[in-house]
Structure formats: structure tokens, C-alpha cells
């Protein structure tokens, strides 16, 4: 009989102690703790270093990067090189997998420590970096490798196989812009 209610009293003592105890809450918008090393925030691009190789666009699993490419003689060497005139990263699709960062040959795309990606409209999350804005709603179709051609031909039938054969001479000059 004497131990009836002792557990309850003990527990209520603990809660009473906590009631006046020091709070451990970190109030987030006012207090921001340091992010861990190698944390993946929102992506950013250093456009001066970008060589418009389109590797990030190809490897992106979510198709969140689209690049509009032209040839331009940017460094005055007299020889036009690929130049990214439009560059958009759509944060509403990005899943922070960091594949583009790994694949970039000149380390011009990298994570920042920004992580508060919020907007009233999904299109506001698409951040433009180039001189000319790129429409982020159009799915950037990275050039498909043509290795599985035979397998695809047997599966799809003859019709899709023949169509590209006729078209290429007409469309070939326009395919400089990959967006």
C-alpha cells in the first residue's frame, strides 16, 4: 500500500522540474546553427567558368537543369566555342543528389549553404543564370545515346525507325540549341 501513487508523484516531480527548467529549443529563423561540412544546399553556377558542355543537364535525374547553348568567341581567341547563353536550375524539381556537381569538369556548378527554397508559385523556384531566360516548364531533352538502336527497333516496329532517316537532313542545322 505505501508505494501506491509513488510512481505518479515521482513522474509529476520530474515534469514540474522540467516546467521551470532551461528550454532546449533553438528558435530557427532567429537562430541558425552552422550547417555540416559538405551539406547540400541550393545549387548555383559560376557562369564565367561554364564551358557549356551540357554534362550536368544530361546527368540530372530530375531534368531540373536546362541550358541554351550557342557558339560564341568569348575569350577573343578567334575560335567560337560553346557558350551557355541561357542556364536555368528549377529548384522545384531538384532533389539535391549532387550528380551535376560531381560531373562538372570545371567545377562551376556547386552547392551553396542556402536551403530555404520557398515561393508562392512553382515557377518562382526556377532560377535563371544566363543572359537569356530559359523556359523551365519545357522538359530539356538531353541527346539520347544511340547505342540501343537495334533493341529499340525490334520493340517499336518500323515506323519510328524510318522517320528519323527522312528527317535528319532538314533538322540537322537547327540542332545547335539543345533546349
Amino acid at each position: 500500500m505505501p508505494q501506491v501513487g509513488q510512481g505518479i508523484l515521482k513522474g509529476m516531480g520530474i515534469t514540474l522540474k522540467h516546467l521551470f527548467g532551461k528550454k532546449i529549443t533553438r528558435m530557427y529563423p532567429e537562430y541558425k546553427r552552422d550547417l555540416p561540412e559538405r551539406s547540400r544546399g541550393m545549387l548555383t553556377v559560376d557562369m564565367d567558368r561554364c564551358i557549356a558542355c551540357l554534362q550536368c543537364m544530361r546527368i540530372c535525374p530530375d531534368h531540373c537543369i536546362s541550358i541554351e547553348q550557342t557558339k560564341r568567341d568569348a575569350d577573343g581567341s578567334g575560335k567560337p566555342k560553346p557558350y551557355a547563353i541561357g542556364f536555368v536550375i528549377d529548384d522545384s524539381r531538384c532533389m539535391y543528389c549532387s550528380l551535376c556537381v560531381e560531373v562538372c569538369p570545371v567545377n562551376c556548378i556547386y552547392h551553396t549553404e542556402e536551403f530555404e527554397a520557398q515561393a508562392y508559385n512553382r515557377l518562382e523556384l526556377a532560377r535563371q543564370f544566363g543572359e537569356r531566360p530559359v523556359d523551365p516548364t519545357i522538359d530539356p531533352k538531353p541527346p539520347v545515346k544511340k547505342k540501343p538502336k537495334k533493341a529499340a527497333a525490334s520493340a517499336d516496329g518500323d515506323a519510328p525507325k524510318r522517320a528519323p532517316k527522312k528527317v535528319p537532313p532538314k533538322k540537322a542545322p537547327k540542332e545547335g540549341a539543345a533546349a
Partner: protein
């Protein structure tokens, strides 16, 4: 000035004013108690609780009410709409109406009924009807389960609740709350919680079960039957159920204070504040309400059989024994 006061004393005007005052008190009490509940929960769990809206989060209830008013009131397709929508009203009216008979200060009581305690017992038990209506009208499994538990719990805890009032009634010789408070005297050793300690404890525990607070919140049972009888409610109907829960919690605390802790009587005679004695009433009620919240965030929920054991095998015998002790003492002295 005197004529204006006399005008206020006239019957229809007095009725409407006290009606408005009681409604104002109850609704604001519900809003403040939700805030206090969340703050207490936060502080006990080493958090701060809501602190974004207004200074130190004090405008949170206003934001909550605004949100709930703008929400859609969804009702299940197969619900019985009359019962479904009538249930929050059937819960709120008893919780608000009993405030009429509580004396807040020496002359501040809306209706000095000579059967005040009987009125309290009769009207609060209507609250169980609201719970049953909510569960039955929703046409939902969890709701019905919660309502059945609620009915079983509230009806079986009425018994120790009423039995624990009998000692006070015997000592006072009256069923009026005003007489009970007056007979307790302005010193804390004259209050009834000392001679009636087992009764006061029983009333406290049974009251806790009667207002469905946490160790006895089986009708709600958040972790097992989601929200119990109020699972299907949303928007303002849900808010009304919450308001009636908090109003009945405040009511139970104030009845506790009135019957066992001296009502508006000051703890020591020289602290008498005259007409401002409602401050003592408010302080004591707030303390009791705080203990309700403190228990809520410290104690786990009882099982159904433990609940019934506590009610029928412990509380009822204690009250019966102490009833005879009180009667014997009154016969001897």
C-alpha cells in the same frame, strides 16, 4: 448612478447581462485554456510552445479561431446530420449553463438556486449525451467506439462524483453553493478540504474523469482511436467541442474550489478584499486548472478495466466509508 444600477437589477436586463457575461467568460476561458494547455505542454517538454503570433505567442488563440472559422465544415456522407451537428451544441450548453450557479464574489452569482448542487449534477450529466450523439451521429467506427467508452466512463464516474458531494451537503445542511461558501469561513482551516480530505480527492479524480482529461481520456484516446467521438468533426463544430471540453474543465475546477477550497473566501481573514474577492476565486481556480494540465502531461492513460476498477472498487467505497465517518462525527459532536 443609483437608478442605473437599479435598472441593471431589473429582471430581463439582468438576465441578458448575466447571460452575455457568462458566455463571454466561458468562450474566453476556452480560448485562454487552449493557449495555456499548449504553453504548459511546451514548458514541460522543454520547449517554448507557441511563440510566433503576437508578443510571446499570446495572440495564438485569436489566430486559431480565425483559422477555424475559415475552414470548411466537413461531415461524413452517411452521417445523421441533425444528431451530428446537434452534438457540439448538446455538449456546450451544459458546460456553459452550470456557470450560472457559481458564486464568483460575495454578491456575484447569477442564480442563487437553493438546489444549486443538484442543478450542477443534473446538468453536467447531460454532457454525456453530447458525447453519445457525436459518436452515434458520425456513423464512424472510431467515433462509436469513443462514444461507448465515453458513456461507460461518464456514467460510472457520476456515482463517486455525487457521493463525494454528500459530505459537504451534510456539513452545510444546504444544497446552495452560496451557503456552502459562506459556511466555510474566511480562513483556510475552515474549508471543507480538511475534514473532507478523502471526499475532496475523490471529487478531484472523478471530476477529472467527468471532463475526460488525460489519465481518463479514453473517449478521445488519441493514440488508439485517433480522436474518439470527435474524429469526424472539423472547423467550427470541432472548435465548439474543444471549447466545451475546456469550459467543462474550468467548470470542474471552479466547483472543486467552491465546494472544498472555500470559493471566494480568502485564505486568511486579513486578506479579505471585499467585492474583489473574485481574485481569490480566480487564483484558486487557476491553480486547480493548472494541476489538471500538469497531470495531463505527466500521467499515461488508464486501461478500460483499470478505469472501472478505480471508479467502482476504490472511489465508491472510500466515499461511502467517509460518508459514515462524517455522519458519525456529526452525531457525536
Amino acid at each position: 448612478m443609483q437608478t442605473v444600477l437599479n435598472l441593471l437589477e431589473m429582471e430581463p436586463i439582468r438576465f441578458f447581462i448575466s447571460f452575455g457575461a457568462i458566455l463571454f467568460l466561458v468562450l474566453n476561458l476556452a480560448a485562454i485554456l487552449t493557449m495555456a494547455e499548449r504553453k504548459t505542454a511546451g514548458y514541460i517538454q522543454l520547449r517554448y510552445g507557441p511563440n510566433r503570433v503576437g508578443p510571446r505567442g499570446l495572440l495564438q488563440p485569436a489566430a486559431d479561431v480565425f483559422k477555424l472559422f475559415t475552414k470548411e465544415n466537413v461531415s461524413p456522407g452517411r452521417a445523421d446530420l441533425w444528431i451530428f451537428l446537434g452534438a457540439p451544441i448538446a455538449m456546450f450548453i451544459p458546460a456553459a449553463a452550470v456557470w450560472m450557479v457559481i458564486p464568483f464574489a460575495p454578491n456575484a452569482v447569477v442564480a442563487n438556486l437553493n438546489i444549486g448542487i443538484l442543478f450542477f449534477v443534473a446538468v453536467t450529466s447531460i454532457g454525456a449525451l453530447g458525447v453519445i450523439m457525436a459518436g452515434y451521429g458520425s456513423h464512424s467506427t472510431f467515433s462509436l467506439l469513443g462514444a461507448l467508452r465515453g458513456a461507460a466512463q461518464m456514467i460510472s464516474y457520476e456515482v463517486p462524483l455525487i457521493l463525494s458531494l454528500l459530505g459537504v451537503i451534510m456539513l452545510t445542511g444546504s444544497l446552495s453553493f452560496v451557503d456552502v461558501v459562506n459556511s466555510q469561513g474566511p480562513n483556510f482551516w475552515g474549508w471543507y478540504f480538511l475534514p473532507q480530505l478523502p471526499m475532496a480527492l475523490t471529487f478531484y479524480i472523478a471530476g477529472l474523469a467527468e471532463v475526460k482529461r488525460v489519465p481518463f481520456d479514453l473517449p478521445e484516446g488519441e493514440s488508439e482511436i485517433v480522436g474518439g467521438f470527435m474524429v469526424e468533426y472539423s472547423g467550427m463544430t470541432w472548435a465548439l467541442i474543444q471549447a466545451s471540453e475546456f469550459a467543462s474543465m474550468g467548470l470542474m475546477a471552479s466547483i472543486n474550489v467552491t465546494l472544498f477550497f472555500g470559493g471566494w473566501q480568502p485564505p486568511l481573514e486579513f486578506l479579505d478584499l471585499g467585492n474583489f474577492n473574485w481574485i481569490w476565486f480566480g487564483l484558486k481556480t487557476a491553480l486547480i486548472m493548472f494541476t489538471f494540465q500538469w497531470i495531463r502531461w505527466s500521467v499515461p492513460r488508464l486501461r478500460m478495466d483499470q478505469l472501472m476498477d478505480l471508479g467502482w472498487k476504490i472511489l465508491v467505497p472510500i466515499t461511502l466509508v467517509w460518508l459514515f465517518v462524517t455522519a458519525g462525527a456529526m452525531l457525536v459532536f
